[in-house]
Symmetry: C2
DNA sequence: GGGCGCCAAACTGCATGCAATTCAGGCGCT
DNA sequence: AGCGCCTGAATTGCATGCAGTTTGGCGCCC
């Protein structure tokens, strides 16, 4: 078996886990945009399994809030409302404050090295695609959570961080991840120094600024219902301006 | 339909949702103790569905951490370690502080009435079984979370509260829910008064005391591995003292 | 008598098949 | 042309069947 991180949680089974991880990654890298359709058949075919398994994977992802499941309808990548996004960030802030509080001054040398290596990787990926930067930034936070050795905390932080990613792809502008990297470095430094209060406030403001960079206005760019998307076009009734429904990305 | 919180999340489908709710309730009322076996067949038969559905339900519950799924083995009700229990309570405190912070001074009259009614119900159930008291106490917290209108927060608070219930059935002594009721009343009062700081500290100490009442010692009564259970018997090698393995509760 | 190994029963892992529902596009009507 | 109905294709909901794994109990051997 490959040295998968496996974990001992639900999606460990095997095939289901593989599909979950793949989809999760595709979603947070925005290869699958919110609203993208995820038919069981295509998924199953793509991963070489039956619908049963694909279905199960979709169920798991739905439980994490990454996928929306409507009865008798094709599953789609979740499209959080602006309010839900805000809520997610609020929760995330509390959870991650808990993480760094537990971690302050308790990191081993190896852990610090791992963290630094990760931030270096983030740095290196700066001229790659946005998608990768976002994923790496998110994974930094998950990495931190893992160091608490609290499976529950890891799970919640991961989930909520993924959700925030989803949000980012909906409501944020072209993006600027640069400052985030410096903030990550600052957090590591404060953790090493063991200044609990400092690191908590750093994490708080870090996440707060990420949220604010993302959730600038309650009027999304591509967000929510297509009513919003079409609003700007509502005045100019040019018929050839009508966009052909982009036939959202199929998974196969 | 009962005024269930239903929500728009995963287990809405129907049958799967029914099974999830039933099992969840059975678990938190300790009708199913940690470690109890949950064979797909029996579940399916009991609820009049096929294994496919039962399986799916188990998957959902596993994602919530109430059920443990091991490959090729019968699913069992989760048995959180003492450390996991501690972690769960830590997370719960943060989340619920968030809840009451959002709620302070913002409750409608109707909501206050609902809360009071619930606490009255708790009061009325004091001479019922412990199981019911525990469930009601937990539901009070979930009720609060629901009033935030944040589905994500509701989900997380519910999950972690259920987990804590599970813990209680493992590590706590015969129990005393009495004081909890008064603390609930105090929280409502502070919420109405709108004293944010006060209500947050009340909630904090409330949960803290619940946790401490439950997680007294790192040496559980019936908890964890049976190694711990058998430790006291290790010295007296009386053969007729050997307890017949209690053949954990089957679901049918 | 106690421990070890084997075998049948129990159970899970997964695919497939069928019924029910939704979806898309074409046809007729206005 | 525009609008709505209607029908077939696509898709989900669910049960069942088969293969592989685990379980636990019986008999055998020590």
């Amino acid at each position: 078996m490959a040295p998968r991180s496996a974990g001992k949680n639900a999606e460990s089974s095997d095939k289901v886990g593989v599909i979950c991880r793949a989809l999760r990654r595709a979603i947070i890298e925005q290869a699958l945009e919110p609203g993208a359709k995820l038919p069981e058949d295509s998924l199953g075919e793509r991963f070489g399994v039956s619908r049963t398994i694909a279905r199960h994977a979709l169920g798991q992802l739905a439980a994490e809030g990454l996928v929306e499941l409507r009865r008798n309808r094709i599953a789609v990548v979740a499209t959080p409302s602006w309010q839900e996004a805000r809520d997610a960030f609020d929760i995330r802030i509390e959870l991650e404050r808990l993480v760094v509080r537990q971690l302050a001054g308790k990191l081993t040398k190896a852990q610090v090295a791992t963290l630094n290596a990760h931030v270096d990787a983030e740095d290196g990926a700066r001229d790659g695609t946005d998608a990768v930067s976002i994923r790496l930034a998110t994974e930094f936070h998950i990495l931190l959570a893992q160091m608490t050795n609290s499976p529950i905390l890891v799970r919640y932080v991961s989930e909520v961080a993924y959700r925030c990613c989803l949000t980012l792809s909906l409501y944020s502008r072209p993006h600027s991840t640069e400052c985030a990297i410096n903030e990550h470095r600052a957090i590591i430094a404060a953790l090493v120094k063991g200044d609990e209060a400092k690191v908590m406030s750093l994490m708080h403001s870090h996440l707060d600024s990420v949220a604010n960079r993302a959730l600038v206005a309650p009027t999304p760019q591509r967000g929510r219902d297509l009513l919003d998307i079409l609003a700007p076009y509502a005045e100019e009734g040019e018929s050839d301006r009508v966009v052909k429904m982009p036939k959202v990305v199929r998974v196969r």
